[in-house]
């Protein structure tokens, strides 16, 4: 099972109004990888996630997920093995927190111990006191935690092999305590075999939690590989156009 291909992307292109958003991107993701996609604003990170999620169609290129072309997947089968947290989640109807989380389990056919799962998720995302609250009345951070719980509930199972999770800025609106507990939880899922690909802006957290980093700039994939290989001053300075001190970044992570 080691090094099995979870995601195979080849020469992906996407343009809007002649503006190139994704330019000839190819890469492979192995099972059990925890990948952080980093890059400046407008570098195409979220668009890449949307293309892989089938929210938008690429102009050209090839996406294979879990060994099958994206277009060939049955929607329900795919939903059982692949969950996505989009960057923006607008829910304007007054559902309760627990109702929103339960929606995540739509594709799951055999439903047993469902309540135990929901209780665990409420605990993990610190939502115990909010279970019966109306979603629309929550704060930004609380909403984000509900959406995370919903997305995780979709793929919750005993084994996470051959399952993949895409997260577009999962830490958005979260305070530091919830950011840390989120990463701790994601790491535990990753240890159980879940493949995770996330877009994130905090480089020190990307270094700390993921095993591989994908560096994007101006619609292109600049570099992709093991954290140590990617994270060096020259490359980061070039991509982000600021002066980095990697040693400092690495010291920061120890503090956390």
């Amino acid at each position: 099972m080691q090094n099995k291909n979870i995601l195979d992307i080849q020469s992906l292109n996407y343009t809007i109004n002649k503006k190139v958003i994704i330019s000839d991107i190819s890469f492979n993701v192995n099972e059990g990888d925890f990948i952080s996609i980093i890059g400046p604003n407008g570098s195409g990170k979220s668009t890449l996630i949307k293309l892989i999620s089938d929210d938008i169609k690429a102009d050209s290129g090839f996406i294979e997920i879990l060994g099958k072309k994206l277009a060939d997947w049955d929607p329900i089968e795919l939903a059982k093995n692949r969950a996505i947290l989009p960057q923006f989640n607008n829910l304007s109807f007054p559902f309760t927190v627990i109702d929103v989380i339960k929606m995540g389990r739509y594709a799951v056919e055999i439903k047993e111990n469902e309540n135990t799962i929901y209780q665990k998720l409420l605990e993990i995302f610190d939502l115990n006191d909010l279970e019966k609250q109306i979603y629309t009345t929550l704060s930004g951070g609380e909403k984000q935690r509900v959406q995370l719980a919903r997305v995780i509930s979709q793929i919750w199972s005993d084994s996470y092999h051959k399952k993949v999770l895409f997260l577009d800025e999962p830490t958005a609106f979260l305070d530091i305590k919830h950011q840390l507990s989120l990463f701790k939880f994601l790491k535990s899922l990753n240890d159980m075999g879940l493949t995770i690909i996330m877009v994130i802006h905090d480089i020190s957290q990307a270094i700390l939690h993921s095993n591989k980093i994908m560096l994007m700039k101006e619609a292109k994939l600049i570099d992709y590989g093991q954290v140590d290989k990617i994270i060096n001053n020259d490359l980061l300075n070039e991509v982000f156009d600021v002066c980095f001190d990697i040693e400092h970044l690495k010291k920061n992570q120890i503090l956390i």
Binding site: S53, K57, L78, L91, S92, F93, T137
Partner: protein
Amino acid sequence: MALYLIIGPVKISISQIIDIFINKFNFFQNEFPSYNKIHEMVLIDIRLPRLFMAILVGAGLAMSGAILQGLFRNPLIDPGFIGVSSGAAVGAMIAIMFSQFFYFYFNASISTFLLPILAISGSFTTTYLIYKMSKFANKTNIMTMLLSGIAVNALSGSIIGLFINFTTDLELRTFTFWTLGGLDSADWRVTLIASVIILTSISIIYSIRKKLDIFMLGDAQASHLGINVEALKKTIILLASTIVGISVAFCGMIGFIGLVTPHLIRLFIGPKHKYLIPGSALLGAIILIVSDIISKTIISPAQLPIGVVTSLIGAPFFIFLILKQKNKIGYAE
């Protein structure tokens, strides 16, 4: 419901109603019935079908309001937004203007259904146009749909305005009363047609209740969870326009039920379609029955158009609710 059957220009008492039913279904023959032929005719051929029609149309309009508010993810949407009513109005206008002409060429039985047929064709045409306009790259853009709905509604309005220039006073009066709605056309034939179509639609809507809930999360989110979003949108539009189309065709435009009813249910029971759909159907039916009782009694023996009643009660009640509840539930800005 019993009240509904009692009230009207011909007074029928509860004991008479029971007698009529007992005799009608041959439980036993009463040799000295407490009612006469007129009572029986009024009850069986006028009030009963009209009661069923009120239930069907009230439930149908409320439910299509509920699913359309879901489609647009906006609690202030009315079935009118997908152009059903305005298209039907153009169809009705044509039917009324050319009724002489049609009477001349077709036999009478077709002519009775002329207005409903033209109205429902009109409503499907406009809805289809709006749906097609909002398609982009194989996806339906809901925002574009809202805008094209407004544009098509305006266009229909101007077409009607144009036609009005060529109508006689009587035709204009017929048209005006049609736009205000009424259950007068409800005989058994009409009620049967409406019940087959509306009940089928209602059961389909109830069977997709879970999908409708998840659809509220957003297009992308719903499709990530395994829902075929485009098929669902098509289903919602088709079901809503069928229900509203058939209601408008037979009963004219009955305002406010589609907007207010689901809103009320969401305020008091919540937005889950498992409760929203049957709740809206029930409340919609009740509202329309009560409105029809009011419309028949308030200026009796004449009657007020039912659309006037629903809007007259609905609008102030809705304003009151918005003012009272606006802090309770934070619909997203």
